[in-house]
């Protein structure tokens, strides 16, 4: 059931934008591009949150790092797309490796607060660098340049982001199903037992944490290209909260969960914000209700599980 809905959603995303353009509604292509980028970010978070049980509250930092990996070279008029992607992935992975090495030594609430604090560290660092706009952000005048692919074309950009989403889904799926994935899933279930079985799962966790960061950095680079404007606000800690919400709303650990969650999240945001300027109130209430009464998320509801 879950998988069916997931595949249907992917099919709709594959076919949607040309239809929207044909119907004269380019606005929807923008929404779908944002959806696809955020879904890729949420899917990367699901690798550590859903499969590994690591509640990272700083995942938006990688979106920011990825976006600035496009923005800062563009500021110096370097537009080579492959270089942008290399920088986005490398710096995200490096930051995840360095902070994860410390954060993963801790458990539970310490881990939540530390990941949050490290993300906030990047946030404040970027805010205080006035050369790159500080608080006001940075305009990207020309998008990343690739041979044969022109990201200035909205539809091409959309399919590039869609390809990133597909790649992220595939990679997370493969990793979760591998022996490596079983180890982090086992450590989530019972650390002591995994240690007794002889697994040094700290290294597995750190590798998963780094991979998730790198993947999220990639989606951040795409998001930065899409918005043409980047600012520290992209990695505010409330953005990390929204990513977690997407994962949980969709259903933690389910392959298509984050995609469904991101779709539901953006749909709600569009509907509610069109209805009232105070849309965050029903949104927040809904979030509380989902936590209290629908713990399996959308994936859980589709499977007929509850509470």
């Amino acid at each position: 059931m879950n998988r069916t809905v997931g595949w249907l959603l992917l099919a709709a995303l594959a076919a949607g934008p040309p239809l929207a353009l044909a119907a004269g509604q380019p606005f929807y292509v923008d929404i779908l591009t944002r959806l696809v980028c955020l879904a890729a970010a949420a899917t990367s978070l699901n690798l550590i949150l859903g499969h590994g049980g690591m509640i990272s509250f700083g995942h938006a930092a990688y979106i920011g790092i990825g976006a600035y990996a496009v923005g800062i070279p563009a500021y110096y008029e370097i537009y080579d797309g492959w270089l942008h992607i290399l920088l986005a992935v490398a710096f995200s992975a490096l930051f995840a490796l360095a902070t994860g090495a410390i954060a993963l030594r801790t458990r539970g609430v310490y881990f939540i607060m530390i990941t949050m604090a490290f993300a906030q560290m990047v946030f404040f660092a970027v805010v205080s660098i006035e050369e790159y706009g500080g608080d006001d952000g940075l305009v990207i005048d020309i998008r990343s340049e690739f041979p044969l692919i022109d990201l200035e074309d909205g539809l091409t950009l959309y399919y590039a982001c869609f390809a990133v989403l597909l790649g992220t889904l595939y990679l997370v799926h493969r990793v979760a199903r591998s022996r490596f994935g079983m180890v982090i899933e086992g450590a989530k279930g019972n650390e002591r037992r995994m240690a007794a079985l002889g697994f040094a799962f700290y290294r597995h966790r750190l590798a998963a944490y780094t991979l998730a960061g790198a993947l999220c950095g990639l989606s951040g680079a795409m998001l930065g290209n899409f918005t043409n404007f980047i600012s520290p606000e992209m990695m505010d800690w409330t953005r990390s909260g929204e990513l977690i919400f997407m994962v949980v709303l969709g259903g933690t650990g389910a392959l298509f969960g984050p995609l469904m969650g991101a779709a539901a999240f953006l749909l709600l945001e569009e509907l509610l914000s069109g209805w009232t300027i105070y849309w965050q109130l029903p949104f927040g209430l809904l979030l509380i209700l989902v936590v209290l009464f629908a713990r399996g998320g959308l994936a859980g509801l589709l499977e007929g599980r509850r509470g």
């Binding site: 949150l49 509640i55 509250f57 902070t99 410390i102 030594r105 801790t106 539970g108 609430v109 310490y110 939540i112 607060m113 530390i114 949050m116 604090a117 490290f118 906030q120 560290m121 404040f124 660092a125 805010v127 205080s128 660098i129 006035e130 050369e131 800690w237 409330t238 909260g241 977690i244 919400f245 949980v248 933690t252 105070y278 965050q280 109130l281 949104f283 927040g284 209430l285 809904l286 979030l287 509380i288 989902v290 936590v291 209290l292 713990r295």
Partner: protein
Amino acid sequence: MDAGLVAAQLLNGLQLGVLLFLLASGLTLIFGIMDFVNLAHGSLYMVGAYFCATLTDVTGSFLLAVALALPATALVGAAVELLVVRRLYRRDHLDHVLATFGLILCFDTLVQMIWGPEGMAIRLPAWADGQQHLPGGLVFPTYRLLIIGAGLAVAAGLYVLVVRTRLGMRIRAGASNPAMAGALGIDIGLLFTLVFALGAVMAGLAGMMIAPITEASIGMGNEIIITAFVVVIVGGIGSIRGAFVAALLIGLIDTMGRSFLDMGLKLVMSVQAAETSAPALSAMLIYILMAAVLAFRPQGLFPPKAR
């Protein structure tokens, strides 16, 4: 370097430190006793500030407004505990984080609906709105000295409450073994509500004290709460003494770093390099401190005794 400037910045650091302590002590109590992660603690800080602003307008007296706003904030805290938080104690930390994230959205929007998007300033009474001439020729704002004094008094009062009173004994009993405390006839449900309300009062008080300087504004708690988390982590979760030491330490380091780091850097690098890197580095200073503490003591400086 001017000795008077250093002394003034030390006092500013102390003032930030006592504010952080008021926030962090509530967080650490709630976590230590109920094992509950409360992201919405900063919302109570904001609610306290807005209550105080309105009541100052209505009554014309800042002190009377604080006296009335404290119980009002306690009521809001108790209501949050009874309506939402109480249902989550048995859940995992992910659910705590998500539900209280939802609460933040609700609080921010409700404040916007009630008080409007603009901030609210609080006018200080004449007796608090001057300068004091301190020994050594130092001139420092009266109100900031009052904040330091009040904060230290509250810290002392909290110590007496927890260590010397019957309620404090129950709180400590609830912290070390809730089930046993319940079996001995302590009403655990009531105790938890009281502790949550106590935390709300202290957060609210911090908001009321800072509002005359910065004004009450939407989302004012969302930034400082992360710093309060850093305090709680560095101090050791559940330790009030740790929160006190860490709050003063972080208040001082943050303030001194922002004021004097560029001078220190100019000694070891070029003036221009120092001026570019100092703001970013000083913004990151407390997070670097946190990482350093955790690398050596993953449980913080004053880890609570093992249960």
